[in-house]
């Protein structure tokens, strides 16, 4: 569970700790603020690094309402794909991770599966694009959000499984044994004991899966066209042949982080409440 006051007290950050956090936040947020200011500048102001500058809303207008933009649609696609693939990968990944940890599978199964996922994670994504494109076209699933969801789940499964496995391993086996003795079936033990105890890991894995799906580019580009394109594809259009349209790209980037942040905030609460509902014991 979240470290309560005792943990926080034991780890209390002294001055150097707090200074480090402040510096880190400044370094992290700085470039992001820079992108924010760039989104309100005219291209020439960005080129010339002007500060102060005359702000403009043209970039946002162009991104959201421009003739060739379906940005609202792109955000909707990204939200659907990212949310669905995150939910799905958490379910599939948590089940698999727990299974591998808790039940005595023969070594060739557990090591084989884990190793295979790891090796798959090492494969450069662009070698997967060709076969997947062909496969999805054959299945008539080209240019669908479903295809993206399924591929994103596959891409994020290795990290989700490995991460959740690390968290499940931290659960003292006595707790699960005690539940078994009490007559709790394996599924209920999983749902009511293991999951709540691994909550921080679930949140972390969920955030990562969401973020990776949200920002995923090569697969989204290959498997979608205009109707189902996601946000990264739309943003990449601003990287043109001769020059990058920095102003619009900045505006689009800012717009795209807003729904992502909101959804993550809500998603965290959702996971927490969903688990605590079932954990009453």
């Amino acid at each position: 569970m979240t470290t309560d006051a005792r943990g926080t007290a034991a780890l209390r950050a002294g001055i150097p700790g707090r200074l480090y956090v402040a510096l880190a936040l400044f370094a992290i947020v700085g470039p992001f603020l820079w992108i924010l200011t760039a989104s309100f500048k005219h291209p020439i102001a960005i080129y010339a690094g002007q500060f102060p500058f005359t702000p403009t809303l043209d970039n946002y207008a162009d991104v959201l309402f421009g003739r060739r933009s379906d940005f609202a649609g792109n955000i909707a696609n990204s939200l659907i794909v990212a949310a669905s693939s995150t939910a799905l990968v958490l379910v599939v990944g948590a089940l698999a991770a727990y299974s591998l940890h808790r039940f005595r599978w023969p070594v060739w199964v557990s090591a084989g599966f884990l190793g295979w996922t790891l090796v798959f994670h090492m494969v450069p994504v662009l070698t997967l694009l060709g076969p997947w494109y062909v496969a999805f076209r054959e299945l008539d699933l080209y240019d669908t959000r479903a295809a993206l969801v399924v591929t994103h789940v596959t891409i994020n499964l290795p990290m989700t499984v490995w991460l959740l496995r690390a968290f499940f391993r931290e659960i003292p086996p006595e707790i699960l044994e005690a539940a078994h003795v009490d007559g709790c079936g394996p599924f209920d033990a999983f749902r009511r004991i293991a999951l709540p105890l691994a909550l921080p890991g679930l949140i972390a894995a969920g955030i990562l899966a969401f973020v990776f799906s949200w920002n995923e580019f090569p697969i989204a580009l290959t498997l979608t066209s205009r109707v189902t394109a996601t946000v990264p594809v739309a943003i990449a259009r601003f990287a043109q042949q001769y020059e990058i349209q920095h102003a619009q790209m900045a505006a689009a980037s800012v717009i795209s982080t807003i729904p992502a942040v909101i959804l993550m905030f809500l998603g965290q609460r959702f996971i927490v409440s969903g688990l605590t509902l079932g954990a009453v014991k």
Binding site: M1, T3, R6, G7, T8, A9, L11, A13, R18, V21, A24, L25, I28, P31, F32, I35, A48, G49, A96, S99, F103, V109, F113, W116, F120, M122, V123, L126, T127, V150, V153, T154, L157, P158, W162, L163, A166, F167, R169, E170, P186, F187, D188, A198, P200, G201, A204, V211, N215, I235, A239, I244, H246, M249, A250, A252, S253, S256, M264, F265
Partner: protein
């Protein structure tokens, strides 16, 4: 309940099925490509079995050697810095008495930005004449730095972007791990009279080990696959100073359409990653056993 009895099997099944369905074909395709030459004529593909030709191409390729060296430096340095900074940040934030959730949300902003935007924006910031860094330097009376145009600086500029981008990743995982440490352990340590430093060293860090391993594993693999940022920042130049393996793979596979050689290069990359991880593991074990 039926659910309970067969839980053991159906819990692993979805993952197995999904993975089998989606990864077998591409992986087999990759292996097959690595021993073939793929040519196109009359609107169709022809595959001819030429295992040695692709491997020979790998040996003859002059760019591969600097690419591998640069990649190893890039991965080694970036991942080390990110692990250190990320872990330190996680521990420091865990010790904050308030605003933890807010800090976490802010701290992960960099990974929310699409990589193509990160590459473009940092390229602007590194701009020699108008970028914010040089503007600041000049304002402070220092000399502007040739961030992306100097062979000695370029790779470090790229590493800096990577660090900015991925420290949040390590932070997120490690923070979750710190939060997951049972408060009873802290209580016990406190009762035993441990100082904060000792608590950190003997209670927290060992418990963080599994999370550190996972974070390192995936961060290292992702670092080998870096593409967007480098492509936009330097395109592999100047010279070969920022030529990285994945960038070269992109050129071979896509721009030059040499699928067979590209497949061999991919397999070589996988082999390199595995080698890197094995060596890291050995080093980590050696360091741990010394304590």
């Amino acid at each position: 309940m039926l659910l309970n009895r067969s839980f053991r099997y159906w819990s692993l099944l979805p993952a197995l099925l999904l993975f089998a369905a989606l990864t077998l074909y591409p992986l087999l395709n990759l292996v097959r490509m690595s021993v073939s030459t793929v040519a196109f004529a009359n609107g169709a593909e022809t595959w001819t079995f030429t295992p040695l030709r692709n491997f020979a191409a790998l040996l003859e390729d002059d760019v591969v050697r600097p690419a591998v060296v640069n990649t190893l430096v890039f991965v080694g340095v970036s991942v080390a810095i990110e692990m250190f900074l990320g872990t330190a940040l996680a521990i420091a934030v865990a010790g904050l008495s308030r605003a933890k959730r807010l800090v976490r949300t802010v701290a992960i902003l960099p990974i929310l930005v699409p990589p193509v935007a990160i590459g473009s924006m940092w390229k602007l910031m590194y701009n020699y004449d108008f970028g914010i860094f040089n503007q600041a330097f000049v304002a402070l009376g220092a000399m502007p730095v040739n961030w992306l145009g100097s062979t000695s600086v370029a790779l470090w500029s790229v590493i800096a972007v990577d660090v900015w981008h991925w420290v949040p990743f390590v932070f997120l995982i490690l923070f979750a791990a710190v939060e997951g440490i049972s408060p009873d352990l802290f209580e016990a340590a406190h009762v035993d009279g441990a100082t904060r430093r000792q608590t950190l060293r003997f209670v927290v860090l060992p418990l963080l080990r599994p999370a550190i391993v996972v974070a390192f594993l995936f961060r290292a693999i992702l670092a080998f696959k870096v593409f967007d940022e480098v492509f936009l920042l330097t395109a592999g130049g100047p010279g070969t100073s920022t030529e990285l393996v994945n960038l070269h793979l992109y050129k071979v596979f896509f721009e030059q359409n040499r699928l067979g050689y590209g497949a061999v290069l991919s397999l070589a990359v996988i082999a390199a990653i595995v080698a890197f991880l094995l060596v890291s593991r050995r080093v980590a074990l050696a360091v741990a056993s010394q304590k």
